[in-house]
Symmetry: none
């Protein structure tokens, strides 16, 4: 093992170059015009897998292709399935970036580029580890399968059908994923739970076209005003979500968990300042850490209607829309919450507007067992690679694939996160901390070794 770990340490420069090559490909999965780039990122991954000695193939899905690669030369040993993604989020407003979002920039310890932390840099850790084992020991200590897709940022619409169709090919004892964050830079972190998600769009329409607000103001139901009024009913004065039945299945964190959470340093004032928010915010009766991980939330992600250009235009808008999403916690069920949401919206929508319902996906929450043998091995590997105790956290975001993997493959997921809390995934100047990637690669290399039965 020491030789293998040495290999990781000696190949940092080459491996950083892998990250630069892959990050340079603008694989924005949501933009049809970037389809060739998405395919290019998959192809790059496939070729790298082959080059390091995995058996790899690009496989078609209903949408963007994916990479399936494997090394299965350790009969009797466990089989893990490594999941990751090489597609990225759109870049948003160019002016908010300090440089071209797809021109990887090195600054101090950071690699700055869209996709650097989410998830290209983290996917590569496993190829680095595989290369290290195959170069030094000519084998992996356990069986490893790789499932690297390119539709994660559009909600993995074709992954579940793919996994269902290929459940024998993907059969495994454990899933390992690195698509999460570290508690602090340099602090190895295992995420053992994620929130679920229900993401909907409420569209209201009133008059058949925008009207003069002088000629018709006071006689026409205004879709923008009405939408605002409906949104305002969705929280009560204590910041709780005002949808009947919403909290029925919520399980509060256990005492052990609350103790873990309380043990992690959290500077609320600094947190708020770093985000740029003028004041702390949240549901009464919970700490900020609990609010952002163990409590369900509801947010308006976007709203639009009427005249939004510079200056004034005195119209009564013909229509308005809002994107509204909810984060769910165990044991809330996404389907059930979705029904409750629409029942509530319908019951609060006046007759003066028409309601159109659009759904943009749903995911159940997930929680991994805290004391599995995989968790124990990961704890050891991370502790050795980073030289400090592992932080255990629950993640506020959603990974719909976790409950899907559990359902279809029967396997739990281990989430080892190496993204900086300051990585700004999905935002401008997304970045990843290179020393954490390097130690992450070492941890993953060690983990493969510790998972082998003696």
């Amino acid at each position: 093992m020491s030789q293998t770990v040495e290999f990781i340490r000696n190949n940092r420069k080459k491996h950083l170059d892998w990250a630069i090559q892959l990050c340079r490909i603008p694989s924005i999965s949501t933009r049809p015009e970037n389809k060739p780039d998405v395919v290019a990122s998959v192809k790059w991954t496939h070729e790298t897998c082959e080059r390091i000695g995995l058996k790899s193939r690009m496989m078609e899905t209903g949408g963007h292709p994916l990479v399936y690669a494997e090394w299965l030369g350790a009969p009797g040993q466990p089989t893990v399935l490594v999941y990751g993604h090489v597609d990225v989020q759109p870049t948003g407003e160019r002016a908010l970036w300090d440089a071209d979002p797809f021109e990887p920039t090195l600054k101090d310890d950071w690699l700055i580029c869209r996709g650097s932390s989410d998830d290209k840099g983290q996917v590569l850790l496993y190829l680095r580890a595989a290369e290290a084992w195959l170069s030094t020991e000519k084998r992996l200590p356990i069986n490893v399968k790789f499932l690297i897709e390119a539709e994660e940022e559009i909600g993995s619409p074709n992954l579940a059908p793919f996994v269902e169709k290929h459940r024998d090919l993907l059969k495994c004892d454990q899933i390992i994923i690195s698509d999460t964050g570290m508690y602090e830079d340099g602090w190895p972190t295992i995420t053992y739970g994620t929130r679920g998600l229900v993401y909907n769009e409420v569209r209201l329409s009133g008059p058949k076209h925008d009207l003069h607000s002088g000629s018709h103001g006071g006689v026409v139901g205004n879709p923008v005003t009405t939408l605002a009024e409906i949104i305002a009913t969705l929280h009560d004065a204590d910041g709780r979500i005002n949808i009947p039945g919403f909290y029925d299945d919520v399980v509060n964190p256990s005492d052990r968990e609350r103790k873990i959470m309380a043990s992690l340093p959290f500077d609320e004032a600094k947190y708020v300042t770093d985000l740029g928010s003028p004041a702390p915010f949240g549901e009464k009766g919970y700490t900020s850490v609990e609010r952002r991980t163990c409590r369900p939330t509801l947010d308006c992600n976007g709203i639009m209607g009427g005249f939004t250009g510079p200056g004034a235009s005195t119209v009564i808008p013909a229509k308005a829309m809002a994107k509204i999403s909810m984060r769910l916690v165990p044991n809330q069920n996404a389907e059930k919450i979705n029904k409750l949401f629409w029942q509530t919206i319908e019951s609060r929508c006046p007759k003066t507007v028409r309601l159109e319902k659009h759904e943009h996906g749903a995911a159940d929450p997930y929680m991994a067992p805290l004391d599995s043998s995989y968790m124990t091995a990961a704890d050891r590997a991370l502790k050795e690679a980073f030289g400090r105790d592992v932080a255990y956290i629950r993640e506020g975001g959603s990974l719909p694939i976790l409950p899907m993997f559990k359902r279809v493959l029967g396997a739990d997921s281990l989430m080892l996160g190496f993204a900086s809390p300051y990585c700004n995934a999905h935002g401008p100047n997304e970045k990843v901390r290179i020393p954490d990637l390097d130690r992450g690669a070492e941890a993953v290399t060690r983990l493969l070794g510790y998972l082998a039965r003696q």
Copy 2:
């Protein structure tokens, strides 16, 4: 007088030709490339004033020039100031017009051309009347001043400074304006009131950039949700505006007015169907006609924040904005209402977001005295020319020049409208009904006579 009225009737063809000449000039005030055309329309008006015997000059403003013309040969008689404009709106999409927007077309009773009803056709009524008097009686029965501008369609930015600078030149006892509509074709109409306007933009900001709603949902004040919550407070359950002090100065329509309004035919079901709204709407205790003319209103004209593209993006938006305008009625004061508005928004804005205030203009409401000698004379003139009783209406829109004239010149305004309710001003195929222009010219001719003190 009968000879003068006869002149009007005998010169319809020539006067229609005036309208065709003036309408043919594409005097779109908002387009810099049409500046020479705007000047040409002012020049044409100036030369016509001179030709019929008025003392006329083109005068500079900070923007497009205007025409000031006068005939002041009736000492001891009242002086009226005729206001109008010869600039026009852009034509919009050419495909929506049946013919070239600036090639006047005659069809049945209609003259079809951009500017035909708004306001060239109506401005010419006064030149026709002046010519009739000067040709037949060699004098006007009263003193008349003309102020014909070319910036009305861009909000008359230079008119108030011009009027203030030339308040002596423009001194008068009454303003007369024909830039409004008829209640129905052939139905002479006096508009005696307009609503005021306060148009503001509320901008809220929270975190310094859009955040991941999973990582931070539950701990960050969301500017879109907060904006919706603030907007929702602006009306109560009865549709009344919930801004403390907002109704303090509202004068309810008098019994006489309510009777006038109730006497005019109004098919509410058809009105709502025509607009495409799914159901009637409005403040309790008032008819639709009252709601859209005599009651103040508050509308969101536009709203925007966060992710508004197709599909889903799970952000907590960094900012949100809404354009919110209020229509005011006598005796509300725009400045006072503006202050109350911002006081209310500030008091309801939580500490979790920052508030930025933007103002896009304000105008006071206006109401003309219903029983002035000018109103009485106009009633008689219109009734005789059209052969039916006059419709008295209040307009839901705003004409900021009316309170400005009242403030600077101390004079009330008489609004005689000759545009068809189907004229489609500002839209494609703008048109004017020629018989209404001809009767309008006769009415104005008679009015000048009736205003002379015996």
